[in-house]
Structures are given as C-alpha cells and as structure tokens.
Amino acid sequence: MNQKVSAITDSHADVPNGSGAAALLAAGIGCFALAVLAVAGDASPFLKCLLIFYRPTGPLSGVTTVTLLVWLACWAILEQCWRKRTVALGRVSTIALALLGMSLLLTFPPIADLF
C-alpha cells in the first residue's frame, strides 16, 4: 500500500527529459517564427496582405495566428517523438535559447528594418 502511494506521489520522478526538451524547442521555434513572420510581413506587401486574417488588427492577426499554429504543431510533433526518450538537452536548450535570442533581436524595429 505504502509502495503504491509512493509511486503515485512520485509519478514525475523518472520522467525522461524528452518532454521538457520538446516544450523548450517548440517555444524557441514559435518565438522565432513570430519574428520571421513579422519581418517578412513588413518586407513583402504580398505577404502583408496574405497575413490579414482580421482586418481591424491587420497583418498582426496573421503573424500571431500562424505563429501559434507553428508553435503548437512543433510542440505536438516533438512531444510525440521525444516524450519517452532522454535527449541531448544541452544541444536542444542551446538551439532553443539561440532561437529566442534571435527573435528578441529580430522584433527590434531598427534590426527588422535591415531586411
């Protein structure tokens, strides 16, 4: 009985890092997708029109909606592939943080205007 209670309370104890890595990398990809779409929408009038999903909000509606779809799709796929695995977290977190850093830079208008 005690063993059963212990197993329930410690159900997270042996969770492999794959699930966390999937969430982390998907968040990095989602943030980067937002920045890339914002820059692309600003640079291309065609894409700008294409990204107007809700006219009062303009292209920002498309940028954010597509970003959410990319982020959630990546998360679902990576979770499916990695949830039972232990992955090289150092490499995954480096990539995720690099993507996050690039998105912070790319959303800064003077840098975005270079493209």
């Binding site: 309370t9 410690d10 997270h12 104890a13 969770v15 890092n17 699930s19 966390g20 890595a21 969430a23 982390l24 998907a26 968040a27 989602g30 943030c31 937002l34 920045a35 914002a38 809700y54 009062p56 909000t57 303009g58 920002l60 509606s61 940028v63 954010t64 970003t67 982020w71 977290l89 150092g90 977190s93 995720a96 943080l97 996050l100 998105s103 912070l104 959303t107 800064f108 208008p109 003077p110 975005a112």
Partner: protein
Amino acid sequence: MEFTTRGLWTLIHGMGFGALYLLACSGALVELTRLSRRDADAPISRSDEIFLTAYLITMAALAWATVLTGTYIIYPWYRAVAPPGTTNLAAFPQLLLKSSPATIAWHSIGMEWKEHVGWLTPIATTMAAAIQIRYGRHLKNHPQLRAAVLCFVLAAFFAAGIAGFFGAMLDKHAPVEGGSLIRLSHGESQ
C-alpha cells in the same frame, strides 16, 4: 470623475493583466531560483510544488489575456483610419503620433516593437508552466532544463517589460480614447 469604455479597456489590458503579469514574473523568477538553489538532498514539499504550478498557470493566463486584449480589442482602435479631411486626430492615436516628427518614433519603434515582442511572453510562460506541470518538484533533477526555463522566463519578463513601458508611453502621448462615457462621480464646482 469619468472615463471612456476604450480608456477602461486600456486600463484592464495594461494596469490589470499586464501589470499583474510583471509583478508575478519577478515572484516566479525568485521562486524558480530559490527552488533550484536548494541543497540537492533537501526535499521540495508537495505544497511548494502545487503553489509554483498554480502560480505559473496564472501567469500564463495573465500573459494570454494581456496579448489577446491588446491585439484584438485595443490595437484596432489604435490603428483606426481617419476619414479624409479629418483635422482632429485625437481619436486616431497612430495617425496622431505619425503626424509629428517629435512623436513618430513612439509608433515606428515603440508600437512596432511592442506589438510583436509582447507575443513572446505567453509562449515562453506557457512552456514554463507546462514543464512545471510535467516535472513538478523533480525539475530540480534536470538542471539544464531548469536553467533553460529560467532563461525563457527572464526573456518573457524582459519582453513584457518592453511592451509595458511602450504601452505606458504610447498612452501618455496618444491615448486610446472614445466610446461611451463611464461616470464614477460628479464633482462640485468651486
């Protein structure tokens, strides 16, 4: 003492959801750091684990509420197009800012940055909450994951700070006003 419905929405977006998120963010950073710096053998109690999970879920909800009200309720009023021949641009904040060289950068840098960078916050915070739900107190056994989550929460704090700062400055230079009037009290004339 009165304000407009649009003014009320900016208040809910900025002073309500946004400011609460920023306040909560500093608390989350402290709590995540505190838990990760504990002695490896010191157990993290179930109540601490539940508290941090609930705290991060609340933060994610606040972040989503902030960006959704900002993008879909307030931003359309901000970027409204004035009919031809309009001389008083008070009801058209974007055009008002762009009409003067002294204020145009509040739009071209402030709003252009704020409208995009703010969206990094709910993504990063939701990820942090999801990882906390999945790993709970055992997150301390995954130091690289914990460090990466802390970095994302820090970046979310930074992004929310930028959005909050420019939101306040934009509201100072070209407030989003309009809609019906809400009167809180009648003053007496002196």
